[in-house]
């Protein structure tokens, strides 16, 4: 089944003509997101732990802290990462690759599967870190399709598990994304999952 529409989107609304300021002004104010409150409660904890670290010097205490820090980070979703010097950092500074708690081969397979499913169904629901990690690969596939040459097609076939999806993508990407430069996906957060309270999100092709 083809994954992409042959009809062009409705001309009545194009996203580029809005600015987010007008919906915000026109519509009634909503309750603030709970994320804001969560972030502010974490910040004092992080500042306190980094402050304690700063006062230590010498090798033996640092190695103790390293082991403690590693336990903490594996327990709590990597709230505190360890950089190359062995210091604990609470922010995302310098972290480029989302590891998704998997070894590299499994990670690649997971992302390949997720992009295949997104291109097949148009909108999927998954956990928020996976959705954010996926964006890069989905957009890369769409960029390959926009180029359209044989070499790019073979590169796409090497990544996506189902070849009819690749052929449908190459056939219809010009109509759908011809004018759009980048930003082919959208992530919409939603309610957390019941079993483990994982933050979920819908990711969809724009």
């Amino acid at each position: 089944m083809a994954a992409f529409p042959s009809a062009s989107p409705s001309p009545a609304i194009s996203a580029s003509t809005w600015r987010m300021a007008s919906p915000r002004a026109a519509l009634p104010a909503l309750r603030p997101s709970p994320g804001g409150r969560l972030r502010s409660s974490f910040a004092p904890a992080a500042a306190a732990s980094v402050g304690c670290l700063g006062s230590f010097s010498g090798l033996a205490p640092v190695s103790n802290l390293l082991s403690l820090g590693a336990e903490n980070s594996s327990f709590e979703h990597r709230l505190f990462g360890i950089d190359a010097r062995g210091r604990i950092v609470a922010m995302r500074h310098g972290r480029r690759v989302p590891k998704l708690n998997r070894p590299p081969d499994q990670r690649k397979a997971l992302l390949r599967g997720l992009t295949t499913q997104l291109l097949k169904h148009g909108r999927i629901k998954t956990t928020k870190p996976r959705a954010k990690a996926m964006r890069k690969y989905v957009e890369k596939m769409i960029t390959l399709a926009k180029d359209g040459s044989l070499h790019k097609r073979r590169q796409a076939l090497a990544f996506i598990y189902e070849k009819h999806i690749v052929h449908a993508l190459f056939a219809e990407v010009a109509d759908r994304y011809g004018d759009r430069e980048g930003g082919y996906t959208r992530i919409i957060p939603t309610f957390p999952r019941r079993g483990d309270n994982a933050p979920m999100a819908y990711i969809e092709l724009v």
């Binding site: 529409p5 609304i13 987010m20 909503l30 994320g35 959208r186 939603t190």
Partner: protein, 182 residues
């Protein structure tokens, strides 16, 4: 930043289905025991029966309720956009849709592929509809539910902008598959 944007805008309901509007009427929708919020996930089996909809307003006001699926048959290929599921007119304010006239009987969500949005839009009528309104010029009411256009419908019957809207998501439920033990 995202917290201040209306969920209808984030979910692209405003844009795909209706134009930007100001919500003036409160609406509450309930499937069985579950109250609806924008973007929540509802199983098709729970939504098989028509929901209980309460539209706030004075009894003199008349409202039209439309429920459509803008992602038919699949969100990546919405060729049948929109599929109309329910159309009720002449609903008095503060009442259920069962007190109005049903033009299109309720059809539960049946998404074949992907996760579909189902949008309920309420318009305020300026006058009572005497004859059942035509969905498209020169087309019988029962003909086809596909290719419905909310904006064209509102323009044709002079309904103006919507006064309330809500949407939910639904995807095909997997039947229980018996997995052989490994």
């Amino acid at each position: 930043m995202a917290a201040h944007v209306d969920p209808l805008v984030v979910g692209m309901v405003i844009g795909d289905v209706v134009d930007l509007f100001v919500r003036t009427v409160a609406m509450s929708v309930r499937f069985g025991t579950k109250d609806l919020t924008n973007g929540c996930e509802i199983k098709p089996s729970m939504a098989a029966a028509a929901p209980a909809v309460q539209i706030a307003g004075r009894a003199n006001d008349l409202f039209t309720l439309v429920m459509t699926d803008p992602d038919a048959p699949s969100p990546s290929e919405p060729t049948m956009r929109e599929l109309i599921h329910w159309l009720v007119v002449n609903i008095p304010g503060g009442a259920d849709p069962c007190q109005g006239e049903t033009v299109m009987p309720y059809l539960g969500p049946c998404p074949p592929v992907g996760i579909h949005r189902y949008v309920l839009v309420v318009y305020q009528q300026k006058a009572r509809f005497m004859a059942p309104p035509a969905l498209a010029p020169g087309v019988e009411v029962e003909a086809s539910r596909a290719r419905f256009r909310n904006r064209a419908f509102a323009d044709r019957h002079d309904l103006g902008l919507p006064v309330a809207a809500m949407y939910f998501n639904a995807q095909k439920e997997l039947a229980n598959r018996h997995r052989p033990p490994r």
